[in-house]
Amino acid sequence: MVKLKSNDDKEFEVEEAAVIQSEMIKNMIEDGCATSVIPLPNIDSKTLIKVIEYLNKHINMGKAAETGEEDDLKEFDEQFVNMGWEELFDVIMAANYLNIHELMELCCQSAADRLKNKSVRAVREMLKITNDLTEEEEQEIINDAPWAFEGPEIDDTVN
C-alpha cells in the first residue's frame, strides 16, 4: 500500500498497482523516494478522492479487454466525468500533476465535448471568461470565417 496526503492534510491508502498509473508516483517509487507518505501539495482531499476512485476502477484496465469488462469501464468513465466545471478542472490539474495519461485524456475530452457546438456567448458564460476583444476586432474575425458562426447545430444553452 502507498499513502498519499492531500494539501488539507488528509491521508489515503492506495494499492500500489492502482497508484502506479500515475507516472509521477511510479517514478518516485522506483527511485525509492516513496518511503512513508507522499505529500501532494497541489491536490485537495475532495479531488484526490475522485482521482483514487478512478485509479481503483482502472487498476485492471489491461485485463478488461480479455474479460469483456470494457463496457463496464466505459460506463464508469461516463459517470465519472459527470461533474461540474470546477470539479472537472481540479481533476484535470491533478491528473496533469500526477501524470495520469488516461485520466487526462478522459477529462480533456469531456471538457471539449461540453464546449463543442456551443455559441460564443454560451462558452464565455459556462467558463466565466471575460471578453477582452473590441467589437471591431470581433467583427473582423467573424468576417474571416462567417460560415463558422451560422448553422442549425449551434447551441446557445449553458448546460
Binding site: 494539501n7 488539507d8 485537495d44 475532495k46 459527470n82 461533474m83 461540474g84 466545471w85 470546477e86 470539479e87 478542472f89 481540479d90 484535470i92 490539474m93 496533469n96 487526462m104 480533456c108 475530452q109 471538457a111 471539449a112 464546449l115 463543442k116 457546438n117 456551443k118 455559441s119 460564443v120 462558452v123 464565455r124 467558463l127 466565466k128 471568461i129 471575460t130 471578453n131 477582452d132 476583444l133 476586432e137 470581433e138 473582423e140 474575425i141 467573424i142 468576417n143 474571416d144 470565417a145 462567417p146 460560415w147 463558422a148 458562426f149 448553422g151 442549425p152 447545430e153 449551434i154 448546460n159
Partner: protein, 403 residues
C-alpha cells in the same frame, strides 16, 4: 446538474486557501489539450471568445500539432458537385450516432470555405494532407491555372505551369506528399498529339526544390476520373485504357523514387476495364465492380504487390433500406469498426454504411450539398511550414492584427 449552484456549495465545503481554477488559470498546454479536441467549426467560433484564445487558435504551433494528431479520429468528407467543383466539407464526429439521431448533426463547413478568389469555378483535382490542388479553367486549354490551397487557413499559391506546347494536351494533375522523402510533388499527365495514343508524358514539380518541371518519361495512359485518390504504399495507381474492353491492367508510380511499375490484377477477372473502378479502401488497393449492383464484387489486394493476395468479396445489395434504393454504390472509406461508407448514386449526399459482420446496410444521416468524393483531413499547418519559409503564399483574407 446546474453548476453555478453546486459551485457555491462546493466552496463552503473546502478550506479557504484552496484556489479553484477557471479555464483561464490553466497552463497553456492544458488549455490546448482541450481546445485542440474541438471540431473545426467550434475552433473558429472560439477565436472570438477572448484574445488569449484567438492567439492560441491562430498562431500557436503546439495547437496545430495537437489538432493534427487528433483530427484523424474525426474524418471529414470532401463534397463536390457533378463537375467536381468543390461544394463543401463535411465534418463527421467521433462518438456520434449517425443512424438514429436527428439533431446534433455532423457539421458542414460552407462552400465559402477559404478558396482562392477568381471568376472561374474551382475544381478539385487532387488532395493530400488536408491541402487541395485546384484547377480553374479547363485543363486542356492553355489558360488554366493550378492552385495549392489550405482551405482552413485561406492560404494558397498559384503554380507556375510547364511552358505550353501545342503538341501536348494536359489530362490531369496529381498532388502528393512522399513520406519517405518528405516532399510535396505535383505530377502532370499529358497526351502527345500525333504520338502514340496509349501513352502519356509525365512531368513532375517538387515543390520548394525544383525551379522547373522535370520530364520524367512516358507511362501508360490512365483511364480515370477527373478526381481520384488512390494512394497506397507510397505510390499513386491507375488502370490503363488502351482498349476499354481489354483486361484490367494496374499501374503504379512511386512518388519518392519516381518509378513506374505494373501490378498484378486479380486472377481470372471476367469483366473488362470499363466495368471496374480502382480505389483505395482501408489502405488496400481495391477493384470495385461498377456495372453490377446486386450483388457486386470488391476485390482487395490484401498484401500490396502480391498477386495471390487478391481476395473477392461479394456484396449483396438487397438489404438496402427502401428510402435509399439506388443502382450504384461507391464505397470511399472504411470507418467505425470496419464498416464501409458508401455514396449512393445521387447528386446530393446520401450515404449508407455497410457492415460486413452483420451483412447490413444503414442509412447515415448527414446533410449537405454535393456528393461525397473522398475523405480529407483538414490541417491548421500553414503552407509556409510545409513548403518552406521562403514560400510566397497569398491569403484569401487579409491578416487580422490583434494586439
Amino acid at each position: 446538474m446546474h453548476f453555478f449552484k453546486s459551485d457555491n456549495k462546493q466552496k463552503n465545503n473546502i478550506s479557504e486557501h484552496v484556489q479553484h481554477f477557471t479555464i483561464m488559470h490553466f497552463p497553456r498546454v492544458i488549455m490546448l489539450e482541450i481546445l485542440s479536441r474541438l471540431p473545426i467549426k467550434s475552433i473558429f467560433q472560439c477565436k472570438i471568445v477572448c484574445k488569449l484564445w484567438y492567439h492560441l487558435l491562430t498562431s500557436d504551433p503546439l495547437f496545430v500539432k495537437m489538432n493534427q494528431t487528433r483530427s484523424h479520429n474525426i474524418p471529414c468528407i470532401l463534397l463536390s458537385n457533378g463537375d467536381y467543383s468543390i461544394s463543401s466539407i463535411l465534418e463527421l464526429k467521433a462518438g456520434y450516432d449517425y443512424y438514429s439521431c436527428r439533431h446534433n448533426r455532423p457539421i458542414v463547413l460552407s462552400h465559402k470555405f477559404h478558396l482562392p478568389p477568381g471568376e472561374l469555378p474551382l475544381r478539385v483535382v487532387s488532395s493530400c494532407n488536408g491541402l487541395l490542388c485546384l484547377v480553374s479553367g479547363r485543363i486542356r486549354y492553355e489558360n488554366h491555372s493550378i492552385y495549392i490551397n489550405n482551405p482552413l487557413l485561406g492560404e494558397y499559391f498559384k503554380l507556375r505551369l510547364p511552358e505550353w506546347k501545342k503538341s501536348l494536351c494536359p489530362l490531369t494533375y496529381r498532388f502528393r506528399f512522399s513520406e519517405s522523402s518528405e516532399q510535396y510533388k505535383v505530377l502532370r499527365f499529358a497526351v502527345m498529339f500525333g504520338g502514340i495514343r496509349d501513352v502519356v508524358e509525365l512531368e513532375i514539380l517538387t515543390i520548394g526544390v525544383d525551379e522547373k518541371w522535370r520530364y520524367v518519361g512516358i507511362v501508360p495512359r490512365p483511364v480515370w476520373f477527373f478526381y481520384e485518390k488512390i494512394y497506397v504504399n507510397g505510390a499513386i495507381h491507375w488502370m490503363d485504357c488502351e482498349n476499354p474492353s481489354s483486361v484490367v491492367r494496374i499501374n503504379s508510380f512511386n512518388i519518392a523514387t519516381e518509378e513506374a511499375k505494373t501490378l498484378p490484377a486479380p486472377p481470372g477477372l471476367e469483366n473488362s476495364t470499363s466495368s471496374w473502378t480502382l480505389a483505395e479502401l482501408g489502405n488496400c488497393l481495391c477493384l470495385i465492380d461498377i456495372i453490377a449492383f446486386d450483388p457486386f464484387d470488391i476485390w482487395w489486394m490484401k498484401e500490396y504487390g502480391i498477386a495471390e493476395s487478391w481476395i473477392k468479396d461479394r456484396i449483396h445489395g438487397n438489404g438496402i433500406p427502401a428510402a435509399i434504393r439506388c443502382v450504384t454504390l461507391a464505397p470511399f472509406i472504411i470507418w467505425k469498426d470496419g464498416e464501409m461508407l458508401m455514396q449512393t448514386d445521387s447528386d446530393s449526399i446520401r450515404l449508407v454504411s455497410y457492415s460486413r459482420k452483420e451483412n447490413k446496410y444503414r442509412r447515415v444521416k448527414v446533410y449537405g450539398n454535393g456528393s461525397a468524393r473522398s475523405i480529407c483531413i483538414p490541417t491548421f499547418y500553414s503552407l509556409k511550414t510545409i513548403m518552406g519559409d521562403n514560400f510566397q503564399v497569398s491569403y484569401v483574407y487579409p491578416k487580422i492584427e490583434i494586439a
